[in-house]
Every structure is written in structure tokens, then in C-alpha cells.
Symmetry: C2
Subunit: 430 residues, 2 copies
């Protein structure tokens, strides 16, 4: 394979012409493909259908603390659900609060509370002239949407193979009291699939923030979402590390069952220090009498324990692995050696991150769309939707069927080639 | 019956001595009774157990718009759940958003959004020097807790038999741009069981607020929660009235199934104008990808439609009615004509409101507690927990069994009598 940059103009034009006719053929097929969102497939949802049967009208609906889960009460989650999340998140169950569907909701509300009431006696963020969050990039668009919504200034921090660039994180957190938080997806990160190294977690735990109310928003969305049994990343548990470092209050951890049971009907959790949880519980008690306890019970009865959940995750992996491999195979076969894109083969999570030649991401996504393939919007992996290099594209292989996925991957690489050639020829529009 | 105030000091002392020996006997029984919260009883929860069976692993979990309820999507609720709430709240389904468990959560978040982002382009309430809410009293403590939490100044508005004193409401809403809202439980109000008259609803719809972002927080918590088939209050639907009056955006209506299906696993709704809902949907999209759709589907499949829900409510009524009647009977028998308390016999809802002689409520609740009966804290029905007359006590007869309830009611009236005599004798402590 010759890298595109080493081809002559004539060679590029010839390639372009061939690719364009391929592209025309694909367009004619009127495809409707979607690799835009990290959405589980029907096959994945089906493996949790047993959850629909664990509770019925003959079930005892009393939880461990003796409360009838049908009725009011137990604001911070039933004990057995706390235990399940505790085991999953590797923290004591005393450090867990269980919520209803969606950890996104929990993260949003955590920022909202800090805005209106502040954290542990510090000024409400809404009263401050400026509040900043560090945003490792590429990252998760819905995190950035929350901070943007609340008018929080976002600062890009480049990702490395070991996690965010910690030199920059340390410097900014230590120097600037306006820096109140950082968004992290520490394991199988969205979108790169990178797991923070032990060294990175240590450096997080030893941060010396200028702001007393600085918090690490540690969204461990893919903590047990491995693709392989024999190749798994292992993330150091940060709450314990923060405690050891003398900063037990510095982190909020989030997790959910959205991609374990059902995204449309899961349960979510926050893990944090006793003092953080006390404050959250107090504010929660104004917001609700309690989240859906029957669904908490349903999850516990279905999974039994962490072991059961891990067995369940193997079924997810069996469905996801071939999809990832199919996409990676096409990328390797079609783009390997061309020098027009790079990617990481992740060991878990929901995404493959693709870095195109600078200035090509928007054009690639537009081309794919023209051919009937919806990709995540270019720029979405950056705060304010602005990728300074216009390079990163998030590939979400979970939802399409394997057959669709192979077609989709081919449409994608074709779009990459065409956009790259147009760029090299200097005729990329827009 | 001679009114206590017409008894001589000697007669009062004699009565007191008899009542005290009765009280001592009751105390010796070491009772553990609770009439403090509007919590459905086990028997009421049992009538919804069929809901645990309507969805199982063989069910089609696709909703009307063709979305798999197990997966992400449908941020504002599935169509059929919107229809169910629309029929229940008597508004078009286009005016409905369906949420997860607890309308309290929805109300909290509605105030929270107004605090941080304002309503329809108006300044965020958090940026204003002062924000006020009108609070018809006695009212619902959890409403008051929300406004207190956000630092909103609460202004007491006395209730009349037709709803809040509308002269005062009109005057304050029209005169003061800091008045941004009013808390209402318009049908079978908490705690009095009063339903706002048509005239009151009309006057609400024709309010001329000084603040563009004034909103009526219309918590129709007991809209179909009748005690009788033949004696039912009928509330005028306010959204339509506001539209007719040219103020379609002035009201947020709230409802939930907490006291229809399960308090611990229900669904909630907001009904409002198209413009209000557009704004809410936009902000919600930052907070969540969607609430629990399987539980929405479960509710729809179980109730079928409003007719089914109304049939279901008759079963609740059959359980609740004898409890209300038992308490009212004891009140009438034991306190009638004594001039030491008044109450209203409600036709629905969850509470009986008791007005003791001025300055006696705290003493009564303390006495009841001494005898093993927990009542709602005196003052709880007022903002900041401060009943200026120290008179109102909320009685919640739903949770105890009928047997417990009769004992509880007797403990209560005994406490009323004793505290009243002590007051009349001038020896109430504290």
C-alpha cells in the first residue's frame, strides 16, 4: 500500500474516479444505516428478557431492610441494589446511592445542585463569575452538553494512551480556582476505548486543586463492559485511591445498568465519600421520596450478584466482539498503510475512535450521510461541537446487525478515501 | 355536650383528672401507631399486583410509535402513556410529557430549571434579588420544602372553602413582579380535602401577573382519588381555562400514579402549553435520554385506559372510605360540640385537616406521641413549618389498618381534649 500523500496528482485523480463510481453504486442502493449512537442491539436486549419474569404477582416485594418496595420510602436505594453496585464499582456499599433510570440524569442533577447550592458550604457555582470544567478530548458529547447547558466554560485536555494529559490537568487544577471539575470516562473511554493507567489514576487521586469544591466526575460507564475474556483492561478504583491520598471527597463516581440490562429501564448509581453522600441525600430528600424500588429489586433478583452480572456481560461481549472485529477488519484492510486515518482497537466499551486527516472529519461524515450512513456528527466528541483539527469521528458499531455493519464499514472507508483525496487535491469544499 | 370554654375551672380540672387516667392507661399499652404520612396501605398496594404480570419475557415491548421500550429513545414518554395521562388530566395528549417515578421530582426539577435557566427567556430566578411563591395554607409540606430549598420566599395565603383566598392572590400576583408562582393542590387539597370551585379556577385563569414568568404550579395529585361514587367533587380543567383566558402558558399541571398504582414505582406527568413543553423538552434532553419506558408501558397495559383506571380507583375508595369514616366518626362522637376543634369531611384525597384551638397543635402532637401515636409534625402544613396560630394538624388515615385506626383516632381525640383543657387552664407548657 502506498500512502495517499505519496501518490501523484494523476494517481489521486485516477483513484478518485474509481472511488466515485463505487460511491455512485452505493448511493443507488438507497441504504439506511446508522453507526451514530452507542445503542445496544435487539440481540443484546433479548439476553435480559429474563428480567421481565423475576417479579410477578406472586413475588415477595420486600427488600432486605424490610420495606415494601411498592410503597414510599428508602430514598437512597434498597440495600441489595447498593450491594450490587458496590461490588460492580469496587467500593463499600456505604458509599453507594442508587437512583432510577440513567446515570446521565444523576450527573446532570449533580452539576445542577452544585450550581444552585454549591458543594459542602462553598459558593453555589451559579454565583461565581466563572466556572470551568476540564474536558479530556475526544470525549462524550452528553457530558459536554451538561456543562454547556449550565454555562460552564470547557477546557480541552488532550487524551493520551494512558488517559488525559495529566501534566495539563495538574497544572490547571492547581493553578485555577475556577476549575471545578473534570469529565472522565476512565475505562474503555468514549470514544477511544482507552483505560486510564494506574499512574494516571494515582495522579488524579493526588491532585491538589485550588478549588475546595473541585470534583472529578468519574463516569465509569463501561466498568464491566469487556469485549474479551482473556484481554481485559483493569482500572484502579479511584475512591480508595483518593482516600489514601487524603482527598476522599474529591471524586463522584457514576455507573448504571443501561448497557447491562435495558437502556430504557435501568438503574443508576453514584459512589462517593460519606460526606459527599450525606450532602447529596439531604438535597435528594427535597427532590423525591425515592426512586423506583421495584426496578432496583428486579435487577437484583435477576443478576443475583456481581458474578451473575459478569456472566451476563459475557453474553453482551459475544454479540459485540464480532461487530467490533468486523469494523476493525474493514478499517485495517481498506485503510491500512494509506496514511489517511488512525484508530485504536479497544478491548471494551461501545466505540471505535477514528482520526482522519486534519480537516476531513466533517467531509467524511457528510459523504457517509450522502450514501445513507449516519455517523455521529463530526465535532461531537469535543466541547461545543468544535473539533479544532476537524479530525475525530466516533464509530458506534453496536446497533446494526453484523450484515449491515459490514456494508456500513465499507461505506465509511469509501467516504474516508474520497474525502481524503479531495483534501489532498485541495478541492475539499467548506 | 357543653363546650369546654363554658366549663368552670373545677369542671375542667375534674375532666382533666379523668382524661389523665385514661391517658395513663393508653400509654401503658406501649402503642406504635402512625397517622403521619399519606402512604397507601398494604391492601391498596395489593390491588395493583396485576401490574407485575402484564409484562413478561413473552411480551411485545414495542410502543405505539414503533420504538422498543427496552432501548434508548422517546424522551418525553411513549404515546400510549401520554394518552392515559391526557385522559386522566383532561387535556390533549400533545400537552403531556411523561416522566419516571414521582411528580415531586418533576416539580422540583421544574423549579430548578427556572432557577438556573429562567422561563421563556426571562432571567433565571437565581439571578434575581427576590423570588416569591404564594402558598395556600394549610398546604403540602413537600411543596414548601422545594421552594424553601431554593431560597424562594413563601407568602401564606389562607384557604377558603372554595380554594385560596383569590382576592389576596390576585392582588399579590398583579402587584408584585417578584411573585413567580403559587403552589396549588386543586382537588381534594392536602390537607383539607377542598376542591377549588369553578369560580376560583376562573379567577386563576384570568390572573394578570406582573411577572411574565409567573406560573401556577397545579399539583393535581388527587384528580381521580374519590372516596364515594355518588359524591364526587368536579374540578374545572385549568389548562383549557387559561387558554380561553389568553394565558395558555401560565400553568404547569402535575399528576402521577403514585396513589393509583405504586408509590415506590409509579409514573408522573406534566401537562402544559405547547410552548412550555417545548422548553421543558429541550432542557430535559440535556438531563436524560429518556425515563423508564417499560414502566410506562406496564402502566398502560395494566389500566388499559382511563375507564380501567377509574374502575381501579373504586377499589382504592372501598379501602379508604371506611378509614376516613372511622376517624370522622370518632372526631364527631368525641369532639362534637366541645368547641375545641373543627374539621372538614372530605370527599376524596388522603387527609383530614384538623384545626385545634389556637396554640394547641404542638401540644396535641406531643401528647399523641407520648401515647405512641405519630402525627404529622405540627406546623408542617405551613411554609417554614410555622403555623402562626399553632392550630392545624394533618390526619393521614390511609396507612394503619382499620383496627389500628380506631385506636389511633381515640388517642388523638384524647390528646386534643387534654391539650385543650391545659390551654384553657392556662398551664400549657412551651
Amino acid at each position: 500500500m502506498t500512502a495517499y500523500k505519496d501518490l501523484s496528482r494523476a494517481e489521486l485523480l485516477e483513484k478518485k474516479s474509481i472511488l466515485e463510481s463505487e460511491f455512485a453504486k452505493i448511493k443507488a442502493k438507497d441504504l439506511k444505516l446508522d453507526m451514530s449512537r452507542g445503542k445496544p442491539s435487539k440481540a443484546q436486549l433479548d439476553i435480559s428478557m429474563g428480567m421481565m419474569d423475576v417479579l410477578d404477582s406472586g413475588s415477595d416485594l420486600t427488600c432486605e431492610e424490610g420495606v415494601d418496595c411498592r410503597n414510599y420510602g428508602v430514598i437512597d436505594g434498597i440495600k441489595e441494589a447498593k450491594q450490587l453496585f458496590a461490588d460492580m464499582m469496587e467500593v463499600p456499599k456505604e458509599n453507594i446511592i442508587v437512583f432510577g433510570n440513567s446515570s446521565l440524569n444523576v450527573m446532570h442533577d449533580t452539576v445542577a445542585r452544585a450550581m444552585t447550592h454549591g458543594i459542602m458550604g462553598n459558593a453555589p457555582w451559579a454565583k461565581l463569575d466563572k466556572v470551568k470544567f476540564l474536558c479530556p478530548v475526544p470525549g462524550y458529547d452528553r457530558h459536554f452538553a451538561i456543562t454547556e447547558h449550565f454555562g460552564i466554560e470547557m477546557v480541552n485536555i488532550p487524551m493520551t494512551e494512558e488517559g488525559p494529559n495529566m501534566d495539563q490537568v495538574e497544572e490547571l487544577v492547581q493553578a485555577d480556582p475556577a476549575v471545578k471539575g473534570i469529565w472522565c470516562v476512565p475505562q474503555y473511554s468514549n470514544p477511544q476505548g482507552i483505560t486510564y493507567s494506574d499512574g494516571t489514576v494515582h495522579r488524579f487521586a493526588h491532585l491538589k486543586p485550588a478549588a475546595e469544591d473541585f470534583r472529578i466526575f468519574w463516569d465509569n460507564a463501561y466498568g464491566i463492559h469487556h469485549l474479551y475474556e482473556d484481554k481485559q483492561d483493569k482500572l484502579l478504583e479511584i475512591l480508595a485511591e483518593c482516600e489514601k491520598a487524603g482527598h476522599p471527597d474529591m471524586v463522584y463516581q457514576f455507573a448504571s445498568t443501561s448497557k447491562i440490562s435495558f437502556p430504557g429501564a435501568g438503574i443508576a448509581s453514584i459512589a462517593a465519600s460519606t460526606r459527599n453522600l450525606e450532602e447529596i441525600r439531604k438535597m435528594m430528600s427535597v427532590q423525591t421520596i425515592g426512586h423506583d424500588k421495584l426496578n432496583q429489586l428486579r435487577h437484583v433478583r435477576f443478576f443475583g450478584n456481581l458474578k451473575g452480572m459478569e456472566e451476563h456481560m459475557k453474553k453482551h461481549a459475544d454479540i459485540m466482539r464480532p461487530k467490533f472485529e468486523a469494523v476493525l477488519h474493514v478499517l485495517e484492510e481498506e485503510l491500512g498503510g494509506l496514511g489517511i486515518g488512525s484508530w485504536i482497537a479497544p478491548k471494551g466499551g461501545y466505540f471505535i475512535s477514528f482520526d482522519a486527516m486534519e480537516g476531513c472529519a466533517k467531509a467524511i461524515v457528510a459523504k457517509a450521510k450522502e450514501a445513507g450512513l449516519i455517523m455521529t456528527k463530526a465535532g461531537a466528541t469535543f466541547p461545543y461541537g468544535k473539533d479544532p483539527l476537524d479530525s475525530n469521528i466516533r464509530i458506534a458499531p453496536s446497533f446494526p446487525t453484523p450484515e449491515e455493519l459490514e456494508i456500513a464499514a465499507n461505506v465509511f472507508v469509501l467516504s474516508v478515501k474520497l474525502a481524503s483525496i479531495e483534501k489532498l487535491l485541495g478541492d475539499v469544499r467548506g
